[in-house]
């Protein structure tokens, strides 16, 4: 394949616009223009696979086919999309009777797919092929003294862990160190945020995220750096409820890793979606000036 195409997924057009607003400029800074995949459809997330696995893989197949026509590999910043597209890709390549049926249906709908596309997460792309050096060279304002808890969540590192460890990954920590920040030893880094549970059974979602925030606080983190819209959302939106319920001030900004990289590169703050933070960022600005 010849280069990458950007698959935003629904979240980056919805509640995580600031992820899109920061990831695209960061890639531009290292000379990678990411164009959006034309007329992409939703990946179906965990929901569609819980209802109908065949349809779930088929709608992912349409996206893969669109990218294949352009001769591009996919970059998917949402860990949910990343996993779902990767999982469907693997399934469609499996040669099973079920996979054959889906490939035939794709063919009939005018979006045939021959399995050439690779699905990548931006974190993976940024730490590979000497791009880390390129980023380092672009840093104008190292985030000195900023203690960052790197949160990977689940679906980026499991079950398809071809670029990092499923339990104790380090690529994001390396990246944060490269921009001058100080990664803390965050033992919750791959513990689940509960996914959509915060919306369905709030009590459980609250506790899962409280465990993560408490651990980050205990390690002296100033901010949690995330790579997934659902994780970002879950860790951020319930903080005021947690403070009340557990009588523990775990308030902390939850920022996308790309926002922090952009900041270190000296890109204008206003363009990186910081105003979309629900948590007050004043302590952060005071710390890094």
């Amino acid at each position: 394949m010849n280069g990458y195409i950007y698959y935003p997924g629904c979240s980056l057009k919805g509640n995580s616009k600031h992820y899109e607003e920061s990831i695209l400029p960061v890639f531009r800074e290292i000379d990678m223009q990411l164009d959006e995949l034309e007329d992409w459809n939703c990946c179906g997330a965990t929901a569609y696979f819980s209802v109908d696995a065949g349809k779930a893989a088929a709608i992912c197949g349409r996206n893969l086919s669109l990218a294949e026509n352009l001769n591009k590999d996919i970059i998917a910043p949402c860990a949910g999309c990343y996993l779902t597209l990767k999982k469907s890709n693997k399934f469609l390549a499996g040669g099973t009777e079920k996979a054959q049926k889906i490939l035939r249906a794709l063919d009939k709908a005018g979006c045939s797919y021959s399995g050439q596309v690779d699905v990548k997460h931006p974190l993976e792309v940024l730490v590979q092929d000497q791009r880390l050096d390129k980023i380092k060279a672009r840093v104008e304002r190292p985030l000195k003294g900023l203690r960052v808890a790197c949160y990977y969540g689940c679906q980026l590192v499991r079950p398809f862990t071809d670029f990092d460890d499923p339990d104790y990954p380090v690529s994001l920590d390396r990246l944060m160190a490269a921009i001058g920040a100080e990664p803390v030893d965050f033992s919750g880094k791959t513990r689940c945020c509960g996914g959509s549970l915060t919306g369905t059974i709030e009590e459980v979602g609250l506790r899962l995220n409280y465990i993560l925030l408490k651990e980050a606080k205990r390690k002296g983190a100033d901010v949690i750096s995330t790579i997934c819209p659902l994780c970002q959302f879950n860790l951020e939106i319930l903080q005021d409820k947690m403070v009340k319920k557990y009588k523990d001030n775990i308030t902390m900004p939850i920022l996308y890793f790309s926002q922090l990289i952009g900041l270190a590169m000296g890109l204008p703050k206003e363009d990186m979606g910081f105003s979309r933070s629900i948590i007050d960022l004043k302590p952060l600005w005071e710390k890094i000036g």
Binding site: G14, N15, N41, I102, L106, C154, T200
Partner: protein
């Protein structure tokens, strides 16, 4: 005190269940489970589950179909894949959970008015017809269908914050080529 039987007699078990789950999950290794408990001790949700993952696997092996399909366990699993990457017998436990969710929806035996399967179904419907999800509309459907409209009131302050920061839109998202999506899903039906 009345003594009640807690375990099923052999003739009450479903002998077809194991084979069916293997087929639907694509995981052939289920009978290799050594009941080591690695899955249950790794699972961040087991403290909330009625049967932790190790028990679910044992129940599948032995034909406790009704109990497995009606459990809260399968809906509490947000697919974190921790159990799956750690299982020494290579059992794809997360995929097995997915297969059970699909069977429970297919047989309509999931807990009534429980928000999680409702969310999964509503979201799938929105995607099948529009090609994209719309967060706000999904939430509205969820509360209407799980018949807890008052839940919306509790969500209002959050919705306001998201509106203020431009993170929630009222627009119904959709792809351009909906026709292709329809053809694809229809063609898939014909293949089945």
């Amino acid at each position: 005190m009345e003594i009640q039987r807690k375990v099923k007699y052999e003739e009450e078990l479903d002998r077809q269940f194991l084979g069916l789950v293997k087929e639907l999950s694509g995981c052939e290794e289920i009978d290799r489970c050594i009941q080591c408990g690695t899955c249950s001790s790794s699972c961040p949700m087991s403290v909330y589950m009625d049967y932790p993952p190790r028990k679910i696997i044992a129940m599948i092996k032995n034909g406790f179909k009704e109990e497995a399909l009606k459990s809260f366990t399968i809906w509490l699993c947000p697919s974190c894949y921790t159990c799956q990457v750690r299982c020494p017998a290579n059992i794809k436990i997360t995929d097995v959970m997915y297969a059970l969710k699909r069977m429970a929806i297919g047989e309509r035996v999931y807990p009534a008015r429980f928000a999680i399967p409702v969310l999964d179904k509503e979201m799938s419907k929105i995607i099948a017809s529009n090609g994209r999800n719309s967060e706000l509309w999904l939430i509205l459907n969820l509360y209407l269908k799980s018949r807890k409209p008052w839940g919306l009131l509790k969500m209002a302050p959050l919705g306001l914050k998201l509106m203020k920061t431009g993170r929630m839109s009222l627009k119904k998202e959709s792809i351009k080529n909906k026709e292709q999506l329809r053809t694809l899903l229809k063609a898939l039906k014909e293949e089945a």
